[in-house]
């Protein structure tokens, strides 16, 4: 089941339905992720992006449909934030080593992502948004994952910051062959790097190559037709959001 052509399927989701109480959050979502792919999921707030991730990592019950994960698949998860209270002393190194099934190669990769040895002994609560993002990514690489799941990984980063972050992601794919599934609201930067973009709004509105999705009417109606070609405006909004968080 988990093979189609030459592609090795890592995650295969069929007709997934998830509901919180009576509220339907995901309806008939079908989606696959193969080795080496970068797939980006975009959608407005409350469109079920994070719920989809929770279904993949198995932290919420699914109503119907199936989520099939390749056996022994190693997942690296990059969350949006850490609930780190100021009362919790935690160095970057200790946090990295909290990762389950870590290995030395993974630790080396994580250190490369950090870009600086000084960071290892820093307290997590003192990091800047960009540093924290690198640390979270590093943590996800500790077990040499086959799939990286990134949940709004560029939240709180400015435009050059997110561009640099996405460049790192591409490098990781090239050097490790790891597949990448990410949630994003930051369309323009993401799109250039992904193989496939999926527009989610409870159900899948449209999907395909970045260019075709950007041109599709469903996409335009979801984000407003002004999105295309008005990069500056879009990013202006984005950076405000970042400061607020």
């Amino acid at each position: 089941m988990l093979k189609s052509g030459n592609n090795i399927m890592l995650i295969e989701i069929q007709n997934l339905n998830v509901a919180y109480g009576r509220k339907k959050v995901l309806e008939n979502v079908t989606l696959t992720l193969s080795k080496n792919e970068i797939v980006t999921i975009v959608g407005p707030n409350g469109s079920g992006k994070t719920t989809l991730f929770k279904a993949i990592i198995g932290s919420i019950p699914i109503k119907s449909g199936s989520v099939v994960i390749k056996q022994n698949l190693k997942i690296g998860y990059v969350p949006q934030v850490l609930n780190i209270d100021r009362s919790l002393p935690l160095t970057v190194e200790r946090f990295l080593k909290l990762a389950k099934n870590r290995n030395d190669q993974g630790f080396l990769r994580a250190q490369q992502i950090l870009d600086s040895d000084d960071l290892l002994s820093s307290q997590i609560s003192n990091l800047s948004a960009g540093q924290l993002q690198r640390v979270l990514l590093g943590h996800a690489l500790m077990n040499e994952p086959d799939v990286l799941l990134l949940d709004e990984a560029t939240r709180g980063l400015d435009q050059p910051g997110s561009a640099a972050f996405y460049k790192k992601i591409e490098e990781i794919r090239e050097t490790t062959g790891c597949a990448i599934l990410m949630i994003s609201h930051d369309l323009h930067v993401v799109m250039s790097a992904s193989n496939r973009v999926i527009c989610l709004n409870g159900h899948i509105c449209c999907q395909g190559e970045p260019k075709s999705v950007a041109a599709s009417p469903e996409y335009a109606s979801m984000f407003g037709s002004k999105v295309e070609g008005t990069l500056a405006l879009y990013h202006h909004n984005h950076s405000h959001e970042g400061k607020g968080s």
């Binding site: 991730f53 932290s59 998860y77 850490l82 935690l90 909290l98 799941l149």
Partner: protein, 274 residues
């Protein structure tokens, strides 16, 4: 040696401090102070019920605090006003406990002992229970340490590495119920939460990793127990509150020390730059 009540008191105090301090770190990190306090208040209902039906106070306390903690853990995530719910449940049990006690003749005088503890009357059996509780809590925490830390930082992150955050937080709840139950004899239901959070809070400014914080909190907790016991002997004051007062004093000292250390390092830095 155990025939001396002061020795028994010291061992009981140290046992409770050692069990409470590392667990208290999680209570502080996960902002569960109010949860802990409500659980402790609820334990008084267990105490009164056990006095009424004449079974072990320890069992009564552990049963009611587990029940209370389980109900709250179940409600977690389903209810938006968890804080209010905690206050309602905790104080309802406390009040009911006090009312129940009033029906039993002759226990009214004893009540104070359960509210603020009566460490000087610790029996050998009490001591055994305290140290068994300590062993269980220590093994639980040692075994689940990394998992609990990961769950504290981000539940989805923990779930993605195969952990079950709900189960982990339930383990913490069980630990809390045990500490409350063994702490009743030593500092009482009103003060047990302070043995959890004050040593942890004092240790915070001295350390850079969670593990060191747990170790320092344990040391500070033990020191408070011994100094508090001696102080109550010298000044003839109630022992439980004396232990807590010493712990608070240590907290103030470490806070002041870390404040001055920060100021000092800022001055040194400025001098270097100019």
């Amino acid at each position: 040696m155990l025939d001396d009540f002061m020795v028994r008191a010291a061992l009981a105090g140290m046992g409770v401090a050692l069990a409470a301090a590392p667990l208290g770190c999680f209570v502080v990190w996960r902002r569960m102070a109010y949860f802990g306090e409500s659980t402790a208040h609820a334990a008084l209902l267990g105490v009164s019920l056990s006095l009424m039906f004449e079974f072990s106070v320890f069992l009564g306390a552990i049963f009611v605090s587990l029940l209370m903690a389980s109900l709250v853990t179940l409600a977690q995530g389903r209810s938006l006003f968890l804080d209010t719910l905690l206050g309602v449940a905790g104080h309802t049990s406390l009040a009911t406990g006090l009312v129940v006690v009033s029906f039993i003749s002759g226990v009214r005088i004893e009540l104070m002992a359960y509210l603020i503890g009566d460490i000087l009357s610790v029996s050998k059996t009490d001591l055994l229970l305290i140290w068994i509780g300590l062993v269980i809590v220590s093994v639980l925490l040692f075994w689940r340490w990394s998992a609990l830390l990961l769950c504290t930082l981000n539940e989805d992150l923990a779930a993605s590495s195969g952990l079950n955050p709900r189960r982990e937080s339930y383990a913490l709840t069980i630990g809390l119920a045990i500490v409350v139950a063994v702490g009743i004899k030593v500092v009482g239901v009103l003060l047990i939460i302070s043995m959890l959070i004050i040593p942890a809070a004092s240790a915070r400014s001295l350390v850079s990793t969670p593990e060191k914080m747990a170790v320092f909190a344990s040391l500070i907790g033990m020191l408070s127990a011994i100094l508090g016991l001696n102080a109550s002997y010298v000044f003839d004051t109630p022992t439980g509150p004396s232990i807590v007062c010493v712990a608070s004093l240590i907290f103030i000292i470490t806070l002041a020390l870390s404040f001055f250390a920060e100021q000092f390092s800022a001055v040194v830095k400025n001098k270097k730059e100019s």
